[in-house]
Symmetry: C2
Subunit: 176 residues, 2 copies
């Protein structure tokens, strides 16, 4: 399965596409970042993020999308923008009928490193190793997006197929 | 000028269209609420909100859109959903090239009632009076959306035209 991981953010929105399945080698399909200028109007920044995500969906045709779940624990201004960007990501995927899953930062860290408390460097190192890259993707948002995609393949793939089936059956009993 | 006010929310997203200009009577064009079921997947709820807003933009063709600025001061779970819904609203408007403005709850209350600390009932009463309605629009989200539109006509109309001109000139020196 091919998964687009999205690490939402207003200034830098990380995007990473990974192909693979449980128990088989993973491969990097694409990785990058959509950047928007801090001095642009908020609505324009969100439109630019939407256009960037749409372009990645068009180009890479993922089977599923994994988005980092946002928590309101840090800087309030940053968190609002991150939440808005994550909403754009969720809608872009769901509009196309793609299964979408949210994974918490701890879930992602645990999936790729074995520890929910791994730091950025550890996550970057594991992404590099798991995808057999010669260097760690930069910036960290790009590496995080790949980690999200890997987490989804290993952890969420089966669940998202169940969710999609349930959604299609109209039960609505899917994870938010 | 015709303004669509949007009070963003996942469970209830208030929508209100008001026509008028500074110093002239205001008139109600339309008011309503997009509701999404709490047990539906988050991405589906956001898509439903987007579809609802798009339908209102199609039907009422506003000259500008005013969205309530979200703060992370209350319940964290609610605020994340509200921020995501506000991102959807901002993008829906900006994608069409419509000027979009954000107004804080205090600005809206002050605009319609003279006090930034007015309660829901006061705001509802003033909206009813200013639009010469026979009863207060329900639920409160619908009345709030109308108050946002009125606030924008009285307070933000000139600013948003300046912003649009600046944005067109590519200076980027506009309010977020």
């Amino acid at each position: 399965m091919r998964v687009l991981g999205i690490d939402p953010g207003l200034t830098r929105c990380g995007l990473g596409v990974v192909e693979g399945s449980v128990g088989r080698p993973l491969s990097l399909v694409g990785v990058g970042v959509v950047r928007t200028p801090a001095d642009a109007p908020l609505a324009q920044r969100l439109v630019a993020i939407e256009q960037g995500i749409e372009a990645w969906l068009d180009e890479h045709r993922p089977d599923a999308v994994a988005v980092e779940r946002v928590f309101s624990q840090h800087n309030v201004r940053t968190v609002m923008g991150t939440a808005q960007a994550s909403g754009i990501a969720l809608v872009a995927a769901a509009r196309r009928g793609l299964p979408v899953a949210l994974h918490t930062p701890s879930e992602v860290k645990a999936a790729v490193s074995g520890s929910g408390r791994a730091d950025k460097a550890q996550v970057g190192a594991m992404v590099t190793r798991l995808l057999r890259l010669t260097e760690t993707p930069k910036p960290a948002d790009a590496a995080d997006a790949l980690a999200l995609a890997i987490c989804h393949i290993w952890r969420g793939g089966a669940q998202s197929r169940i969710d999609a089936a349930l959604a299609a059956a109209g039960t609505g009993r899917t994870r938010p």
